[in-house]
């Protein structure tokens, strides 16, 4: 899975650089993006969770060192908390002691992962006026997907077999919290940039539920959703930034198409992922599927809002939006080769 997500992140960076609006400094964007990609590559090949944490610390300090409205101290807090939680959890998993310590260890790893990505209950501080690179968006949409896959894969090596159910339950619980909170907040919040941020949260909630199900359908749905975050929602958010600043919502057909892609309607990638997730949830515990289906329906008003906030893409942005929608349709219609590749 990690290789697919790394390739997807590289593709998104290429799209963002090549099709960036004229006012954007491409060299700066490319440099910072390549630093992030290098870190993600190192995370993907790191043999242990300890090395992943050290690489994460490097990325956190580098990002906090960027010039921004928020100071170093404010930006480094959330990643350091995340690393500390995972490291303490890992320490508890490694020592010989009572079972309760192992459970605390599992809680620490899940809590740290959620804090690193910036999901509830550890939302990163978000300033809508801040540049995307210095904001929490790279954690939730660029580095986060690969980080989650890598951490969960390594965590399974250290967690005892009987902790698997508790681990999955925590992921599903946090997933439901983020789906519901993200959906309602993206609909009700006043600021459009904040609504986009909450929309990432909602997608991540479904991803956590998929990972928590621990069956093939759940894992496949999680992978498709992660790809739709990296290859779909992130570039669309980048290209909506100018329209968000102009505060000029529009109701053209392209806005409806974007809204449909963001909502996970057929034939876009999100639809296949949602169907797989519902199928997996039905196999494990059908009331979970009912809750997930209700949350997915709730997502429609927020998606329409986000689609309108895109404005009318012109020039390079229009090409970019067309590419993103085409890729999403392809992933939605033919997800099987990708899922087979990811195992």
């Amino acid at each position: 899975m990690a290789a697919e997500l790394l390739l997807a992140a590289a593709a998104t960076l290429s799209l963002a650089v090549v099709l960036a609006p004229p006012m954007v400094r491409r060299a700066s964007l490319l440099t910072r993006g390549l630093v992030g990609l290098a870190g993600m590559g190192a995370i993907a090949i790191a043999p242990s969770l300890d090395l992943i944490l050290l690489i994460l610390l490097v990325l956190a300090v580098l990002q906090a060192g960027l010039v921004s409205h928020r100071d170093f101290a404010a930006r480094v807090r959330a990643p350091v908390l995340a690393i500390a939680l995972v490291a303490l959890g890992l320490a508890f998993e490694r020592i010989e002691g009572p079972a309760v310590l192992l459970r605390f260890g599992a809680v620490g790893i899940v809590a740290g992962l959620v804090a690193a990505i910036g999901l509830l209950p550890y939302l990163h501080e978000f300033d809508p006026e801040e540049s995307t690179i210095a904001s929490p968006i790279p954690w939730i949409a660029f580095v986060g997907p690969l980080l989650a896959v890598s951490v969960l894969a390594r965590a399974k090596q250290v967690l005892p077999a009987d902790a698997g159910d508790a681990f999955g339950s925590m992921l599903i619980g946090l997933g439901l919290l983020n789906v519901l909170w993200g959906t309602v907040a993206a609909w009700r919040t006043e600021n459009d940039a904040a609504a986009w941020r909450y929309s990432f949260l909602s997608d991540w909630g479904l991803v956590l539920c998929g990972f928590g199900l621990a069956i093939a359908d759940g894992q496949g749905a999680a992978l498709l959703l992660l790809l739709s975050i990296v290859l779909g929602r992130l570039p669309l958010y980048l290209w909506s930034r100018q329209a968000l600043r102009d505060k000029a919502p529009t109701d053209r057909p392209i806005n409806l198409l974007v809204a449909a892609a963001l909502a996970g309607s057929a034939p876009f990638a999100g639809f296949a992922a949602r169907v797989m997730l519902l199928r997996g949830a039905t196999q494990i515990y059908w009331p979970l599927a009912v809750v997930l289906a209700a949350a997915m329906l709730l997502w429609l008003p927020a998606s329409l809002r986000l689609g309108r906030s895109m404005g009318v893409p012109r020039g390079r942005q229009a090409i970019g939006v067309a590419i993103v929608l085409a890729v999403s349709v392809f992933l939605g219609l033919y997800p099987q080769p990708l899922l087979a590749l990811a195992g």
């Binding site: 960036a20 690489i55 610390l57 300090v61 100071d71 350091v80 540049s131």
Partner: protein, 189 residues
Amino acid sequence: MIELAAALLAWLGAALVALADARRGLALGLALVTIGFAVLAWATGQPVGAIALTLGGMTGAFQCWTAGPAKWGLMPPGSTARLVLCIAAGLLSLWISASVTTTRGAPLLFAVLVVLGLMAARVLTGRDAAVDRAAIACFALALGSSPALASSIPTGPVPYIIGALIAAAVIVAPATLLQGAARSGKDGG
């Protein structure tokens, strides 16, 4: 006995970083944490790791000592809560490592738990970049040493070396690494 003393030294260093607001106190704290983890690494059969930790941590501590106003800044007014935190974190880590667990590397476990906990708390409550950088340096040293807790998995010197590099680089690097417009609209959004 030496391991126990090294673990207590690491606690003392972390407490100094938690209680100090100026460069001399932070530098001394970082140096003590460095010595503590270097001795623990040597005791667990990692001489390369111990040397790497010493080089990285001491480079950071030296840079911390020479940069900024020459003050100790120990326990300024309003730091009672931090003092209580240092004692409570030490006692909790001591209880877990000495009483709750039956693991062999109790001193290392104590040092890792107390330094990670105190430094994370320092970064969460800190508002000064210099203080946060010193705390992150100590944090990196603890993180680099923690793989040795896994008795069943052989750990090489790589985590120690990476932890030491971070500890040195986070203090030596300029305050803003990548200058340029990071305002909305100039860097990709």
